[in-house]
């Protein structure tokens, strides 16, 4: 990475970062975002993340990025997982144990059916 040397550089960088985001949503890519702050980890987010990655590997899925974020603040509902499919609005799920994560993968990611029982917002 070259150092940012001026305001113009920074503006370019921002445009590129936003462009990258746009590409993701336009191509219909699925983003799965797991809250991995201290609270999430304490509530079992690592196991949830592992279950999601294993499912993707087992089913041989492509076009899915799994990434991390911090704490959203609803600590009593951790582990929290957010799903973004293409340019659809983000769906946030709470209390996502590994079993629930598999359900979300099967029903929401593969079949486009939101898992209402665990949805916090969407």
């Amino acid at each position: 990475m070259d150092r940012v040397k001026s305001l113009e550089d920074l503006k370019k960088l921002r445009e590129q970062a936003l462009e990258k985001r746009k590409l993701k949503t336009a191509s219909g890519e699925v983003q799965i975002i797991v809250g991995m702050g201290t609270v999430g980890i304490a509530a079992g987010a690592r196991e949830t993340l592992k279950a999601i990655l294993e499912f993707i590997e087992k089913e041989n899925l492509s076009g899915i990025t799994v990434r991390q974020t911090g704490n959203i603040g609803w600590d009593s509902y951790e582990p929290i997982v957010q799903v973004v499919i293409g340019d659809q609005p983000k769906v946030t799920y709470g209390k996502v144990t590994p079993d629930v994560a598999i359900r979300i993968m099967k029903e929401h990611v593969l079949n486009g059916q939101v898992v209402k029982d665990f949805m916090l917002e969407g």
Binding site: L7, A17, G37, N71, G73, F118
Partner: protein, 594 residues
């Protein structure tokens, strides 16, 4: 021995009995006789099956293991005909999976306004590009390219931003003091030594949006003329330390830290220093001593850090949240920031909501919101819909405020007037089953433990306070204790060297003021109204409710419970150690505290 092809288990815990479990059993037996199935199907009683609040009375049918719930006797004929005669499961009576999602759990909590936390739980904290996409480092670029340091300080001052560590000093003015100090070297320090029990606002910002703090610090460094910065983070936050180090590394690679930032000739660098777990190191002078490698003890002020701080050089210390507000103020302007909050307390504040409240977690609300709105609208009310008793704000140096203060607007001055403090933003909600003397003792235990011992009023005073409080909780309180406590509180507050000692008596003083009757009950009647203090309570078995199932006797660690099978049991109060295990294991709620 009769052979049954199927067993029906009916829950007869007190809750379900109240809802007519016995009528269900009678209806089942009647209908099974009518259908001629009574020799094939056996009805049995069992304890709690589902959540009675939602389902009771419920039944489980074996061998299928089908769980029916919310039945009324009128449903039984149909159920028996369908399930037992025709062998078809009746879907409409089946217990529904408990829904954890309810109406009030929608979008971000009502009344929340996210400024500091806008990126938390949204961006990837380990990816600087994610932050840049959210206008990250734009404020820094704006400051470096077209603002003088004076203009930056002016903007921050006009916004009305006050220290978010709790003292509430005007940030712009603090920066000005440090700018006015002449020296060859100046330092910027971020206080991330968040030690209040039940408070974790700063941890979340550091873990979820570290660049906002870093950017705020670089802007402060430019305004003050500092070349080196330290983030003092407690070692108990390993993830925050790791995230910060990654973020600092990335900021260096991108040229936001280091020599010649953004090609403007301005240079500044940052390091993380870890605290070793002393609560007092959140006090600025003790914090600086700790960074220098000395023992973390406060020293008298003046000289203030802005004049003589780290290694005797002018130093500016702000809290994590204070710095995290800065980039937004620069980008959106002082007027935007000042439009939120009250006349003297501008902007938003994050609070860690903990204790007996439904939705614990972190919130960010405009200052001036009332405690009632925080507890009931944002927090969803008290757990299990119990009564509200008190709210403790500002960590272990804060006071406990009773229900009459629920409509108090939350800002620096109002809280101080009420006998509590803003602190860094901890809020512990307590329900009616909390003993205020015990709570005061708990916080005293904490401050006593964390007192650094440098000054006598705090070192000895807190110990004496704790001794008296412990005695009261053990039922050995005497006449004159309350007066002694009050006198001690007064002396510790006026004579202690730093904020820890000056604030330590707050929980005691405020509970003495607002919950004096509880102290009196403990001392004069040897009674704990909230039934918490072990020495003042007894566990008893209600003979009418006890079924003689022997579970309590088998689980009692000291064998204090005696009784024949199927006969009411008794607890021997002289042997009983009041551990409460019997109450937890009893399926019939037959054990009460007196």
């Amino acid at each position: 021995m009769a052979f049954y092809r199927s067993h029906v288990l009916v829950s007869v815990d007190p809750e379900c009995v109240k809802r007519g479990a016995h009528q269900i059993i009678d209806a089942l037996n009647d209908e099974l006789v009518a259908q001629g199935l009574i020799d094939e199907i056996q009805v049995l009683e069992t304890s709690r099956i589902g959540d009675p609040v939602l389902f009771g009375p419920d039944i489980i049918v074996y061998p299928e293991g089908v769980h029916y719930a919310c039945l009324s006797p009128d449903d039984i004929p149909y159920l028996v005909e369908e399930h037992f005669l025709k062998g078809r499961i009746v879907e409409k009576f089946r217990a529904q999976e408990k829904k954890i999602v309810d109406e009030e759990l929608g979008a971000p909590k009502a009344k929340e306004v996210r400024v500091v936390l806008r990126n938390c739980g949204v961006i990837d904290p380990n990816n600087i590009e994610d932050y840049i996409a959210e206008d990250g480092y734009m404020a820094l670029a704006k400051v470096l390219s077209d603002m003088t340091p004076e203009q930056v300080i002016d903007e921050v001052t006009r916004s009305g931003l006050r220290g978010r560590g709790g003292a509430g000093f005007l940030t712009g003015r603090k920066w000005q003091f440090c700018r006015n100090s002449q020296a060859d070297m100046k330092y910027i320090v971020c206080n991330a030594d968040e030690g209040d029990p039940g408070a974790f606002m700063n941890r979340r910002v550091l873990e979820s949006d570290p660049h906002s703090v870093i950017e705020g610090m670089i802007i402060a460094a430019y305004a003050i003329g500092a070349r080196q910065g330290y983030i003092y983070c407690r070692a108990e936050y390993p993830l925050a330390v790791k995230t910060l180090n990654i973020a600092i590394k990335q900021a260096r690679e991108f040229g936001f830290l280091g020599e010649n930032i953004l090609g403007t000739g301005f240079s500044f660098d940052l390091e993380v220093r870890q605290g070793a777990g002393a609560f007092v190191c959140g006090e600025e002078t003790a914090l600086m001593a700790s960074i220098e490698g000395r023992r973390g003890e406060p020293r008298p002020r003046p000289p203030f850090p802005a004049v003589s701080g780290l290694w005797g050089k002018p130093t500016n210390i702000n809290n994590v949240e204070t710095y995290a507000n800065v980039p937004q103020i620069i980008l959106k302007g002082a007027d935007w920031f000042a439009s939120m909050g009250t006349e003297k307390s501008k902007g938003t504040k994050t609070f860690a909501l903990a204790g007996d409240v439904k939705h614990t977690g972190l919130i960010e609300v405009p200052l001036g919101i009332t405690l009632r709105e925080i507890v009931y609208d944002v927090g969803g009310g008290i757990k299990d819909d119990k009564g509200f008793k008190a709210i403790q704000t500002g960590g272990p140096m804060g006071g406990c405020l009773p229900a009459e203060f629920l409509d108090l607007p939350v800002d620096y001055e109002s809280l101080t007037q009420a006998g509590s403090i803003m602190g860094s933003g901890g809020m512990v909600v307590m329900d009616e089953e909390t003993c205020m003397v015990d709570i005061a003792r708990f916080f005293m235990e904490f401050t006593q433990e964390e007192s650094c011992g440098k000054c006598t009023p705090c070192r000895i005073g807190t110990r004496r306070l704790l001794e008296i409080l412990t005695r009261i909780c053990e039922g050995k309180g005497e006449d004159g204790d309350i007066e002694r406590l009050e006198e001690l509180c007064d002396q510790i507050r006026t004579a202690s060297l730093c904020g820890l000692g000056q604030g330590a008596p707050n929980p005691v003083a405020s509970t003495l003021k607002y919950f004096r009757h509880e102290y009196e009950a403990h001392i004069y009647e040897k009674r704990c109204p909230a039934k918490v203090c072990r020495a003042l309570i007894t566990y008893e078995i209600v003979p009418e409710t006890c079924t003689g199932c022997t579970v309590c006797a088998r689980n009692c660690p000291v064998n204090a419970i005696t009784g024949e099978r199927r006969q009411p049991h008794k607890i021997d109060p002289d042997i009983c150690v009041r551990c409460g295990i019997c109450m937890q294991v009893c399926n019939f709620n037959a054990i009460v505290i007196n």
